[in-house]
């Protein structure tokens, strides 16, 4: 079994603050973390390895500092961590990013052997686009399973997997041939505590470097210049103001709140009558 997990180092969105005067994000002092969804992707891959043997490789695209997130993946049990770094990637949008990661993944296949399962988080908590995973799957032309909540069955002999994903209305269980691409929900699994040897390994880890030197890259598809989308303007949303504080006795507050809720209550009634 060979699983390749695409991971991203992100600023901890809960600690990001906004400079309302300049309309920019204050990144200084904001810790960089492994995208939480991808911690679960690594966990799933490591669990598969403990069941079936094989190896787990992780790949990220980013500046050299992104090795912190790679280190966390190693402490969570990944075998090898690759950093894809190149100046020409700067300013990449999701299309250019999925291109770069696709080329990086092809190089990893060349170096580490065929991949059975590709994983990524369902989205990154900084951009929230949920596009890069589907983009890479499309470039590989392999089946895509988004919003994965359970890997029911993996059959390496028959080269197929049965997987359950979240949908708008509940869930659905799919059968796909391997290799396949999965983007994962946080409910997929519970994170385990890392055993000491993994932590030691992570602390001493060396990272494999991929760049323009060892990866064949078409510069016409990389970076800001070749990204179809541009940020025209970034600004801070109008800060939500504290609204009305309802006053009065508890009984008065109950009446006031019930008045506010009436439109929603009526809607429910109409529903009931139609049923």
């Amino acid at each position: 079994m060979h699983a390749l997990v695409f991971i991203k180092q992100v600023p901890d969105a809960s600690q990001v603050r906004v400079n309302y005067e300049t309309g920019t994000i204050i990144r200084e002092g904001v810790p960089a973390i492994l995208n939480p969804f991808e911690a679960h992707a690594v966990e799933e891959a490591v669990r598969l390895r403990s069941k079936y043997g094989g190896k787990v490789t992780v790949l990220t695209m980013g500046p050299p500092q992104a090795t912190e997130a790679l280190k966390e993946c190693l402490s969570r049990g990944a075998d090898k961590a690759y950093l894809l770094s190149n100046r020409i990637f700067a300013g990449s949008d999701t299309l250019a990013t999925s291109y770069a990661l696709f080329e990086g993944a092809k190089k990893i296949i060349e170096l580490e052997g065929e991949v059975d399962l590709f994983f990524a988080g369902k989205q990154a908590i900084d951009g929230d686009t949920a596009q890069t995973g589907p983009g890479i799957a499309t470039r590989f032309d392999i089946p895509l399973v988004t919003y994965l909540i359970k890997l029911d069955e993996v059959d390496f002999e028959e080269k197929r997997a049965v997987a359950t994903r979240l949908t708008e209305f509940g869930q659905e269980t799919l059968q796909v041939p391997l290799p396949a691409f999965f983007t994962v929900e946080e409910t997929l699994n519970e994170l385990s505590h890392s055993p000491l040897p993994w932590l030691i390994k992570a602390a001493r880890a060396k990272f494999e470097k991929l760049s323009g030197e060892n990866v064949k890259l078409d510069s016409e598809q990389c970076g800001l210049k070749h990204s179809p989308t541009r940020v025209k303007k970034a600004f801070t949303p109008e800060k939500r103001q504290r609204g009305e504080t309802l006053t009065g006795s508890t009984e008065e507050l109950v009446f006031k709140t019930s008045d506010i809720l009436m439109p929603f209550l009526k809607k429910d009634l109409q529903h009931g009558q139609n049923d």
């Binding site: 949920a130 509940g170 970034a234 809720l261 429910d268």
Partner: protein, 353 residues
């Protein structure tokens, strides 16, 4: 930012070969998702500015019956591909069919709902077409100077807004969150044109098979699908007290959720957690009971339209994002509110008779 963009003649030629605005009509089992009509309404407004037509496109086993609604909400054309293989949504056949239609009919703008299905589909179609895609937008405008689509979306959990353009690639694609725009039917709808396409795909060429579908299982719930969410926090004090959260949610036709602290205290399952490490919601009504409002929670719900918060601490951060602030103990207040709402409901029903 603010730089002008230079185009070569070839680029301008290529761009001008794309016209009209398309809306993807999302449907499940022949029932259209409401976001489709919200997008048609918006598309009509944008089309007026660009002096172009509104196209709509649906793929499914049977979608022809949606034509009346699609025209009623302002589509001039309805592109349909019907086949047994499209009975259930599957990424790859939908991706390939939709990409082919876009290549053939060349819409300038393509809007898709930012639903589970729309988010799954749009990223693959944009990659197939090698064009730009802006996810989860909350605002769509035409730049009067350039005629380009200005797509605005929140990032960093709503802390920052970004306006995105797609200057040199077509179509300009974006997904739009349900509920952002209002669906308004056209006053005098005209019968539009239906264009039927065919697919070369056959079931034996599709490797992905659906084995089972479960509708709304408790284990995994998509909170984003609900207009009304009643959430409880650590201040609810016990798992039993969450019964009132559930009851209030039911009365209002919504669903219930919990903060991270409520999940950690065992009051609510992780699958119902709202916040950075849970789900992000954009409800029409969000009622926060006994939730202090850590930033991790706020980023998951602060874009909701109306927020009502009940908390004993008048300085709780949750009040800073609330439309209505109620300084009360939720454990005492909510049951009284439920009682009053039930009374109101009964009165309303008896009026009906």
């Amino acid at each position: 930012m603010g730089k002008t963009i230079d185009f070569t003649e070839k680029e301008l030629d290529e761009i001008s070969s794309y016209k009209n605005i398309w809306v993807f009509i999302e449907q499940t089992g022949g029932v259209a998702h409401p976001v489709s009509f919200e997008l048609l309404t918006k598309a009509r407004e944008l089309a007026k500015q660009l002096d172009c037509q509104v196209g709509s496109v649906a793929i499914g086993r049977s979608v022809s019956h949606l034509a009346d609604d699609v025209f009623r909400f302002g589509a001039d054309k309805f592109y349909i591909v019907e086949d047994e293989i499209f009975k259930d949504y599957r990424t790859e056949p939908f991706r390939d069919t939709l990409s082919d239609l876009v290549r053939k009919f060349k819409p300038e703008i393509f809007l898709i709902g930012a639903t589970t299905q729309g988010r799954d589909l749009s990223g693959t179609v944009a990659t197939e077409l090698k064009t730009g895609l802006t996810a989860d937008t909350t605002k769509q405008e035409i730049d009067p100077e350039t005629g380009m689509l200005l797509m605005t979306r929140p990032t960093f959990g709503g802390s920052l807004m970004a306006t995105i353009i797609c200057p040199k690639h077509r179509p300009q694609m974006s997904t739009v969150r349900p509920g952002v725009f209002k669906a308004i039917p056209v006053e005098h709808p005209e019968k539009g044109e239906i264009i039927r396409g065919k697919t070369d795909l056959t079931e034996d060429k599709i490797v992905k098979k659906i084995l089972k579908k479960v509708v709304s299982s408790e284990g995994n719930i998509n909170l984003g699908f609900y207009d009304v969410i009643v959430a409880g926090g650590k201040g609810m004090g016990s798992k039993d007290h969450f019964n009132m959260i559930k009851e209030l949610a039911e009365l209002l036709g919504g669903t219930w959720a919990g903060s991270r602290k409520a999940v950690e205290s065992g009051y609510a399952p992780q699958s119902r957690q709202v916040g950075q490490t849970g789900q992000t919601v954009h409800a029409k009504l969000y009622i926060a009971c006994g939730i202090s409002g850590a930033i991790q929670h706020l980023v998951g719900m602060q874009t909701s339209a109306v927020i009502i918060s009940v908390n004993t601490d008048q300085n709780a951060p949750i009040f800073d994002v609330s439309t209505y602030c109620i300084v009360e103990d939720a454990i005492r207040f909510i049951p009284k509110l439920i009682g009053e709402l039930k009374k109101q409901k009964l009165t309303a029903v008896s009026y009906e008779h």
